[in-house]
């Protein structure tokens, strides 16, 4: 793969667009210059078959699933209607205004695990694995697995070996996207127990433009290791902006009113066990 068609961008950002997914192997002569559309759609990895399914073929028509769906969505809808009478976001206004801390994620049973998606290197062809299960006493979640940093042999990936735990997008009734409003808070607090490896906390916000789809705010989470729980408090002002893994030149604070996801990736060489409450 060679350089894409260079458009006239300010020099600060040019670097970040060139270097996405495009390490140059010196002995390969590029045969064609790939054309990349300005609107970045889904990237198809080399080797993956082209998906030529039409939109209507992707819908799964199933009666029992439909019934469950109706029940779930109408319950959510009813809850949304009644919550407005209680106060903003379903809480009384006094509580909403005066709250100092809000528990967003806690692991109190198997249902809480469904909020999280665990992914690893495997989806790009690597050899890492990651699993999530409930820890002891059903109070914590335990992320464990194996990391291997041999990059997949697809000719364009240079570094590899990661696993992430991602929170799912909160959904309102009828699968409408909802976001977290954290504008009244300024710190993220976690209770973790790691194995000494550094992790990262990624927060992503809902953006308007599709170019900003991969904008992620990151900060490091250093674990000490050992059997004691570690309280980590990260103010939101410390998060820095990255796009597709590259730190950007134009930094701005996190948009707290449209927070969508929280991710905890780790990159390292070997087996990893991280416990998170």
């Amino acid at each position: 793969m060679s350089l894409p068609r260079i458009t006239h961008l300010p020099s600060g950002r040019l670097l970040s667009t060139i270097l996405h997914h495009q390490p140059l192997l010196p002995s390969i002569i590029p045969l064609t210059v790939p054309k990349r559309a300005v609107i970045q759609g889904e990237y198809r990895r080399p080797g993956q078959p082209k998906k030529t399914k039409f939109a209507w073929q992707k819908i799964n028509f199933n009666f029992s699933k439909g019934l469950e769906g109706i029940k779930k969505h109408f319950t959510l809808l009813k809850k949304e209607f009644t919550d407005r009478w209680v106060g903003p976001e379903g809480k009384p206004i006094v509580e909403h205004m005066l709250e100092q801390n809000r528990v967003v994620w806690e692991f109190r049973g198997p249902e809480s695990l469904r909020e999280w998606t665990v992914s690893s290197d495997r989806e790009i062809g690597g050899h890492s694995e990651a699993y999530l299960k409930l820890g002891r006493n059903n109070n914590t979640c335990f992320l464990y697995g194996t990391l291997s940093s041999t990059p997949p042999r697809d000719g364009e990936t240079r570094y590899s070996g990661y696993c992430t735990m991602r929170s799912k997008q909160p959904l309102a009734s009828f699968d409408r996207k909802k976001h977290h409003d954290w504008s009244s808070f300024n710190t993220l607090q976690l209770r973790v127990r790691g194995d000494g490896r550094p992790w990262m906390i990624n927060v992503s916000a809902e953006t308007y433009f599709s170019h900003q789809k991969d904008d992620i705010y990151c900060y490091f989470l250093y674990t000490r290791g050992g059997p004691y729980w570690q309280d980590v408090k990260i103010p939101f002002s410390k998060f820095f902006l990255t796009h597709r893994g590259r730190v950007q030149d134009d930094q701005h604070p996190v948009w707290l009113d449209k927070v969508v996801q929280r991710k905890i990736p780790s990159q390292s060489d070997d087996k990893t066990d991280v416990s998170l409450p």
């Binding site: 801390n101 697995g145 194995d195």
Partner: protein
């Protein structure tokens, strides 16, 4: 005014480049560090203008020496004429030069061989890529002087854009990418570039180019993140396992007052039958508050020796064992009503996360029951109550099995037993062999 300044800049750059090309490579290598630029300037004033070999291509105004090349660059070297004429990677040069040992000196030698070979530096991009790939084998990937020397391979001043059009259109894109890759490898190994790197980059690529921007980004972000770790690990970890155990135990223990005790040093014994028995080291840690908690522990409830748990420090993994008890049942917990504010959220009870109090930790290279028994006996010297409390072992798969290729049998293989301290004459309280069903890890773990 501007024109004369440009001319002056060109002249000084030319002097610099001449000096850079003419200096013998060992001297150039010795000029590493902040004195690099000064040394070059100084030598240029000594040599300036006196030597002018015919091979030196003079810099023409508004054009680059690249235009004077008559034939396209070839990748075939003289030695490789006997081989097939396909694309020859420059790795061969590295392998030829260092068949016996791969050290920094041999790596530098390869670079010197290449730079002295041709003033035009044909194929320097491929050479630099090959060198970057070979660096870990030679063990020089964390050495800044080697990176600077490699950056020196680029011909100077040729790739500097001269006007705004060249600056706009990514002048010499392959070379710029190569420079960026070199800096990226430095960044991934966490090496901070220095002034010599900057001077080299300015000479080679000029300002406002991608490698220069990359350098500026590194110099902005690295100092910000260098000290972000609240639990820093020194770059050189201690080699001695006892020292390493001591360091990691103090790191994990949450307490400045915790005391590290070495129960056994590693030694090799020869038994009566002549067989060699290696005794592993046992290093334990316990703090005074833990000793108090253990003394207050209810002897009816057992304590567990759990392990091994991994602890990673950079690339080293060590395993530790923990002596802990199960969390107290809710009725025994005291509800300490500390002053609570109006805004405190009382629904999230932090005490629920308690995994049970930890009484002591230890590290040993061989995690079998005999060694851990020794640790418990050693602990008993300072905590006599351990004689009355039944101690159960909840050991996972040992580190040896973790390192090898594990099959599903070993993944689920956990063994439990109980150990009765025979010092106290109270056999009724000591536990018999109890097998517990709770697996430490689920089936999905690959080892």
């Amino acid at each position: 005014m501007k024109g004369s300044r440009c001319l002056h800049q060109l002249k000084s750059l030319r002097l610099l480049s001449h000096a850079g090309r003419r200096l013998p490579p060992p001297a150039a290598a010795a000029a590493a560090g902040d004195n690099g630029a000064l040394f070059r300037l100084h030598s240029s004033s000594l040599l300036g203008g006196s030597q002018c070999p015919q091979r030196e291509v003079l810099r023409h105004f508004h054009s680059s020496p690249a235009r004077t090349k008559s034939q396209p660059a070839r990748f075939v070297q003289e030695e490789d004429k006997t081989r097939d004429k396909s694309l020859v990677a420059h790795d061969d040069l590295f392998e030829q030069v260092a068949k016996e040992t791969k050290t920094k000196a041999t790596f530098n030698k390869v670079i010197d061989v290449y730079t002295k070979r041709d003033i035009r530096r044909r194929g320097h991009v491929e050479f630099i890529y090959a060198a970057l790939k070979k660096m870990p084998e030679f063990g020089v990937e964390k050495d800044l002087t080697v990176y600077n020397k490699l950056l020196d391979v680029f011909p100077k001043e040729v790739f500097v854009p001269q006007n705004f059009i060249q600056r706009m259109f990514n002048h010499y894109p392959r070379q710029q990418e190569c420079g960026v890759q070199l800096l990226e490898q430095m960044e991934s190994y966490g090496i901070m570039p220095n002034t010599e790197t900057k001077v080299l980059l300015v000479q080679i690529f000029g300002e406002k180019t991608h490698p220069m921007r990359k350098y500026q980004r590194i110099m902005y972000w690295f100092p910000k993140f260098m000290h972000a770790n609240p639990f820093p690990i020194p770059k050189q970890l201690p080699e001695d396992p006892v020292d390493l155990a001591r360091f990691s135990l103090t790191r994990m223990a949450n307490d400045w007052d915790a005391k590290v005790t070495v129960y056994q040093l590693p030694c090799t014994d020869i038994t009566d039958s002549g067989a060699e028995v290696t005794l592993p080291h046992i290093v334990g840690i316990q703090s005074p508050s833990q000793m108090e908690a253990l003394a207050k522990h209810n002897p009816c409830r057992p304590v567990f020796v759990e392990g091994p748990f991994p602890l990673w420090m950079r690339k080293t993994c060590v395993y530790y064992y923990v002596l802990r008890a199960d969390p107290a049942p809710p009725e025994e917990k005291l509800d300490l009503d500390l002053d609570r504010d109006l805004g405190d959220d009382e629904s999230f009870d932090v005490e629920d996360l308690d995994d049970g109090p930890v009484f002591a930790m230890c590290m040993t290279s061989q995690g079998d029951q005999a060694t851990l028994n020794q640790w418990i006996s050693g602990l008993q010297q300072s905590n006599p109550i351990l004689g009355q409390i039944p101690t159960l072992f909840r050991l996972g798969a040992g580190p040896r099995e973790l390192q090898g290729v594990g099959d599903t049998d070993s993944a689920s293989g956990t063994w439990f037993s109980s150990h009765a301290h025979k010092e106290e004459a109270d056999p009724g309280e000591d536990g018999e062999a109890v097998v517990e069903e709770e697996p430490r890890r689920s089936q999905g773990v690959k080892q």
